[in-house]
């Protein structure tokens, strides 16, 4: 049986970690490679880098970060942010990343999913979906451009389509839960998990270690992703895993 995965997410801009991280045991708290290596040692099962660089130079720097990370860590990692062509994917995978996350570009051009899956294999293609509940519809709507732009597209339809096109995994962020620390969005995660046969990474809302067990047991998520709570040391990955073990959830 596969273990449930705990995945820290690092926002990287121009080769530096964004968000005030303050780790005493790091020589350079802004270095994504050092932080990645620390999470690896602490028991993270996977990592996600989100490149939020706006410039061409910033993106070029990310390739170097990927190369250095691949030489340092012993767990798989995904790189997302601003990837819109299969040649971008190739550069990042060749630099040593295991998976590519695509979000806005996949909504604008769904063929990117099938092209990427055909060229590199479905297991490399993670489709990231930002969703918010639309009360008029009584279901969730997909947002793009970092959650700024509603698309008019129903999330449950989009995730099914993404799977058909060859997505290997979904990174599902609830915009309603994100930042609340009240727990993952169980209703959204459950609805998506039941709509697809590929693994679902739940994101947004983790505030306590019990929240991970909830989203695994009650919503069928395969992995839980968080950023702030790990970066600010509100809890460690080891503490989350100890809690999950106590609850009888299989973890590494």
């Amino acid at each position: 049986m596969l273990a449930k995965r705990i995945i820290p997410c690092l926002d990287v801009k121009d080769g530096r970690v964004v968000k005030g991280v303050n780790f005493v045991n790091l020589r350079d708290a802004g270095d994504p490679v050092e932080l990645a290596s620390l999470y690896d040692r602490e028991g993270a099962d996977e990592l996600v880098f989100l490149d939020i660089s706006a410039s061409v130079e910033g993106r070029a720097t990310m390739i170097e970060v990927v190369r250095r990370t691949a030489g340092e860590i012993t767990i798989p990692f995904t790189v997302g942010g601003g990837i819109s062509q299969t040649d971008d994917m190739k550069r990042i995978l060749r630099a040593g990343a295991d998976k590519i996350g695509i979000n806005t570009a996949a909504v604008l051009n769904p063929q990117l999913i099938s092209d990427g899956a055909r060229r590199f294999g479905s297991q490399c293609i993670v489709v990231a979906v930002d969703a918010r509940f639309n009360p008029e519809w009584g279901e969730w709507e997909v947002y793009t451009h970092g959650g700024r732009k509603p698309t008019g597209q129903r999330a449950l339809e989009w995730v099914r389509r993404a799977e058909q096109l060859g997505a290997g995994e979904l990174l599902l962020t609830s915009m309603d839960a994100d930042g609340t620390k009240d727990g993952f969005d169980l209703a959204l995660t459950r609805a998506v998990s039941q709509s697809v046969g590929i693994p679902v990474i739940a994101s947004g809302g983790a505030g306590r270690k019990e929240h991970f067990g909830e989203v695994f047991r009650e919503a069928g998520a395969d992995a839980g992703l968080a950023a702030t709570i790990f970066h600010y040391k509100e809890m460690t990955i080891a503490e989350v895993k100890d809690e999950l073990r106590r609850e009888g959830v299989a973890v590494r």
């Binding site: 596969l2 691949a70 030489g71 012993t74 040593g96 297991q123 590494r252």
Partner: protein, 210 residues
């Protein structure tokens, strides 16, 4: 310092595995040069992609013979992921294809009402004693695969994992060994398994040098 040939046959990313070898105190030679492969102390056959494409490329470049010659030399050979599958007689990915024939058995697709590929962290269960397992305890390693090997000789099966059936995870017959999962992506246990392999190639019992 032991030199380990990481056989480059044009598929997949060899950066992570060669870096892991270097971190464990060996020299990693990413190479498709036959002489260089044959003179190495150990060889790793990595692999991402399809069985048929990989075998076609190995044959075109003569690296199928080089790998067999390396195996015949008695020096340790490790196949990783698709590289492990290629060690067997035959694979069925996109039609039947002949493998390297270093281990008896076949490679078949997962079939059933469950998620394919088998992707993620799964627990190793040790089945045989092996120098690869020396000093280690069962734990989780990272798998990504849609096909799995069925060794014809039960004694070649060193470890399995459970994914709706027992799935071949580590195989070995003398100096020919294979791991279905990615040891270079499998945390501390993965690095320890790789270290045990490198020890067979004469690497000192040094710790992780990172």
């Amino acid at each position: 310092m032991s030199a380990i040939a990481v056989i480059d046959y044009g598929l997949g990313n060899l950066h992570s595995v060669s870096k892991a070898v270097e971190r464990l105190g060996c020299e990693a030679l990413v190479t498709s040069d036959l002489a260089e492969i044959l003179s190495a102390d150990g060889a790793i056959l990595p692999g991402v992609g399809a069985f048929g494409d990989a075998m076609a490329f190995l044959r075109e470049t003569g690296m199928d013979e080089a790998t067999r010659a390396f195996a015949a030399s008695g020096k340790p050979l490790l196949g990783i992921c698709l590289g492990m599958q290629l060690l067997f007689d035959e694979g069925e990915e996109h039609g039947p294809h002949q493998g390297l024939g270093l281990l008896p058995g076949r490679v078949v697709r997962f079939r059933g009402e469950y998620k394919i590929p088998h992707m993620g962290w799964n627990r190793l269960q040790f089945r045989q004693e092996s120098p690869l397992l020396e000093g280690l305890e069962e734990g989780h390693v990272y798998f990504v695969h849609s096909y799995h090997a069925l060794p014809a000789e039960p004694l070649d099966l060193i470890a399995v994992t459970d994914y709706h059936q027992p799935v071949t995870a580590i195989v070995g017959r003398g100096n020919v060994t294979g791991m279905q999962f990615h040891p270079e992506k499998s945390g501390e246990l993965g690095m320890s398994l790789l270290r045990n392999f490198l020890r067979l190639a004469g690497a000192p019992a040094a710790s992780d040098n990172r």
